[in-house]
């Protein structure tokens, strides 16, 4: 078991900066996800922790020991690869046994361990097969088994579920979570899928363009996104971001969308919004998650919008609406009457609004 500390880690590819000054602490036994779109530097960061790539600048510590110059073998980390990285010429048994074998573990011990892990992952019947003879799901589990069998201090999982079909992905998600719960090893999990990060992690580190955007628990990330990027990356469908004018009124701070009053904030929340807006031509970005609108008849006060698409999702419907300048998505109960081309009024939940600076994109306030 180990903690991991990244101290201003930088990765340069020629002149391109792949990872820009990442500092992060992963506590012993934590499950931390690196989340971000492809090319955001999350995989590079993990590979630097694994020792597969050189660290251009900064330091990485495992248990307070600087590991910059240690080869992968010296770091006692185990890794599962996106494409599984199985040894194609070896049987599944040998694949799983390999890390023990190179450590010259006694044969009996190897056998015992491999079988134990294989049973845990329900692949004990397939051990004499070659990777090419088994399905993606099995390969994925073999890859995990190979990482698990070593009892490493740190687990690195690089998008291990991305090539599985939906059913398997959702069940493996649960299995992985349970596995972590059982063995408690420090785990770093790289993914571009916000759902995976949200459902599994203790902490999420959201990354974009090589930079760390926010670190926090899933709930923090979801409810108090640090900036526009985090806000729109987390949650599906994505948060609506709308431009609003800010004005100070006696009742509080009034936000106007499309020249119609949208919401009035109390003084405490409004102050920060007001200050930011003053520096930015009186404009602010309002974030509203699609479930946080209520669809009402057009005569009700709220954001006026015309339904563009109505998509049936089972329990709910997803409405895509035009407000004139912007497009808004709303998740509504399936009995909502609005049909395509209908005019409706959208009423936001006042306690779930987010405000971002137009220029910097940083969160200014959250109305909860």
């Amino acid at each position: 078991m180990a903690s991991i500390t990244l101290d201003k880690v930088v990765k340069l590819y020629g002149k391109v900066t792949g990872v820009d000054q990442i500092s992060l602490k992963v506590a012993d036994g934590e499950f931390v996800s690196f989340l971000g779109p492809s090319g955001c530097g999350k995989t590079s960061t993990m590979r630097m922790i694994a020792g597969l790539e050189d660290i251009s600048r900064g330091s990485i510590f495992i248990d307070d020991k600087r590991v910059n110059d240690l080869p992968p073998a010296g770091r006692n980390v185990a890794m599962a690869f996106e494409n599984y990285g199985l040894y194609p010429q070896m049987s599944l048994f040998r694949n799983i046994a390999y890390p023990l074998y190179v450590r010259k573990v006694s044969p009996t011990e190897v056998g015992r361990e491999v079988v134990r892990i294989a049973r845990l992952l329900h692949i004990e019947d397939l051990l004499d097969k070659k990777p090419s003879d088994v399905s993606g799901g099995v390969r994925q589990r073999v890859s995990l088994a190979r990482a698990l069998v070593r009892k490493p201090t740190v687990f690195l999982l690089d998008e291990p579920l991305s090539h599985l079909d939906a059913d398997l992905r959702s069940s493996m998600r649960g299995e992985l979570k349970r596995l972590h719960d059982l063995n408690g090893a420090t785990t770093i999990y790289v993914t571009h899928d916000q759902l995976e990060a949200m459902t599994m992690s203790d902490q999420i580190a959201v990354m974009n363009l090589g930079k760390l955007q926010q670190v926090g628990t899933p709930s923090e990330i979801f409810n108090r996104p640090a900036n526009r990027f985090v806000a729109s990356f987390i949650g599906e469908p994505a948060m609506n971001l709308l431009r609003g004018r800010v004005a100070s009124t006696p009742e509080g701070v009034l936000i106007t969308l499309q020249n119609t009053p949208f919401v009035t904030l109390n003084r405490e929340t409004g102050q920060a919004v007001l200050e930011t807006a003053r520096q930015e031509d009186g404009v602010i970005e309002v974030g509203v998650r699609p479930p946080d609108f209520t669809v009402a008849s057009p005569e009700k006060s709220g954001l006026q919008a015309k339904v563009r698409f109505r998509e049936f999702l089972g329990e709910t419907v997803l409405l895509t609406l035009d407000t004139g300048a912007e497009r808004v998505r709303v998740v509504a109960p399936r009995d909502t009457q609005a049909r395509e081309t209908d005019l409706v009024s959208l009423v936001p939940r006042l306690d779930r609004l987010h405000f971002f600076s137009i220029e910097s994109g940083m969160a200014v306030a959250h109305s909860d």
């Binding site: 494409n83 390999y98 890390p99 074998y101 845990l120």
Partner: protein, 303 residues
């Protein structure tokens, strides 16, 4: 449509391969010589071959050339491919340089090496003298002459091996190798456990191709030693050429050619089998310890 696609090579096969083969087969059972008509003499030519010490020597030489030359070329080519593959910069230039020997017509190769190895005015001898060693009679000692040919052949054709193996290396997936590094395997282990076995198909193809080409070894020997001293460096192709075309003994030469062909076919098959076995064993040797678990009943119960 599909028949049309494959017609030309098949046509070539029948027109320019089968007919000459039959022709040569026919010649080999006669005593035809240039300057005289031949008559049917059955398998006499073949019988004679096996008491002909030049032929036997040439036969042995040919096989040794193939075995020694191809082995040397394989390991050197593999080493070079690994080295170049691990480079980040300058790959293209290095590759061009490595391929250079392959581009030189054997005739010129023959001349260059003949002078290089000359014990009197060759730079190799100069090097030996410079190191206070006795110059070695590279071309005039039967054994060394043989070794020299292997060296030159290796010089010229290692690039070919390199080319095939390098291409093979580049098509390997990279994740298993990273996995092995994380799993804690040393470079040496990674090579034996992964690179080598995964390169197996490319290796077999390369070895087979080179072996087949090696059997045709002719020009280098022709230009460097002419088969000497005393026939110590003769190859079957060289002998066939001299017998058929220089001394005009077409029937006998044809019989030699046929034996050569048979040898190639048999040895190519054998090499295929042996190489596969050897490589499978090399793969296994490193893994034997693990293999026995599969045979053993799985010993432990899991809670």
């Amino acid at each position: 449509m599909k028949h049309l696609l494959i017609a030309p090579p098949l046509l070539f096969f029948f027109a320019i391969s089968v007919i000459p083969l039959l022709f040569t087969l026919g010649l080999s059972v006669t005593n035809t010589s240039i300057g005289g008509s031949g008559s049917f003499i059955g398998l006499n030519n073949y019988a004679q071959l096996f008491s002909d010490q030049f032929f036997l020597r040439g036969f042995l030489n040919t096989i040794l050339y193939v075995v020694l030359g191809v082995t040397a070329q394989y390991w050197l080519g593999l080493g070079l491919a690994l080295l170049v593959n691990s480079m980040v910069h300058g790959k293209r230039l290095i590759r061009l340089l490595i391929l250079l020997p392959m581009m030189i017509p054997p005739l010129i190769v023959g001349f260059v090496w003949q002078t290089l190895l000359d014990s009197r005015y060759g730079p190799v001898a100069g090097l030996f003298t410079g190191l206070h060693l006795k110059p070695v009679p590279w071309l005039t000692d039967p054994t060394l002459g043989f070794v020299s040919i292997v060296i030159v052949d290796t010089w010229q054709w290692t690039p070919f091996m390199f080319l095939l193996l390098f291409t093979g290396l580049r098509t390997l997936p990279k994740e298993p190798f990273e996995a092995a590094r994380v799993d804690g395997a040393s470079s040496w282990r990674i090579f034996w456990d992964h690179t080598f076995p995964m390169l197996l198909p490319a290796s077999i193809a390369a070895i087979l191709l080179r072996s087949i080409e090696s059997f045709k070894l002719f020009d280098i020997v022709f230009f460097i030693t002419g088969g000497g001293p005393g026939g110590a460096t003769n190859t079957l192709t060289l002998l066939g050429y001299f017998t058929s075309l220089r001394s005009g003994n077409l029937g006998y030469g044809a019989a030699m050619s046929i034996i050569l062909l048979l040898t190639v076919v048999v040895l190519a098959t054998l090499i295929l089998i042996v190489v596969r076995r050897l490589m499978a064993r090399a793969d296994k040797a490193g893994q034997q310890a693990l293999d026995q678990f599969l045979a053993e009943p799985l010993p432990v119960k899991v809670a």
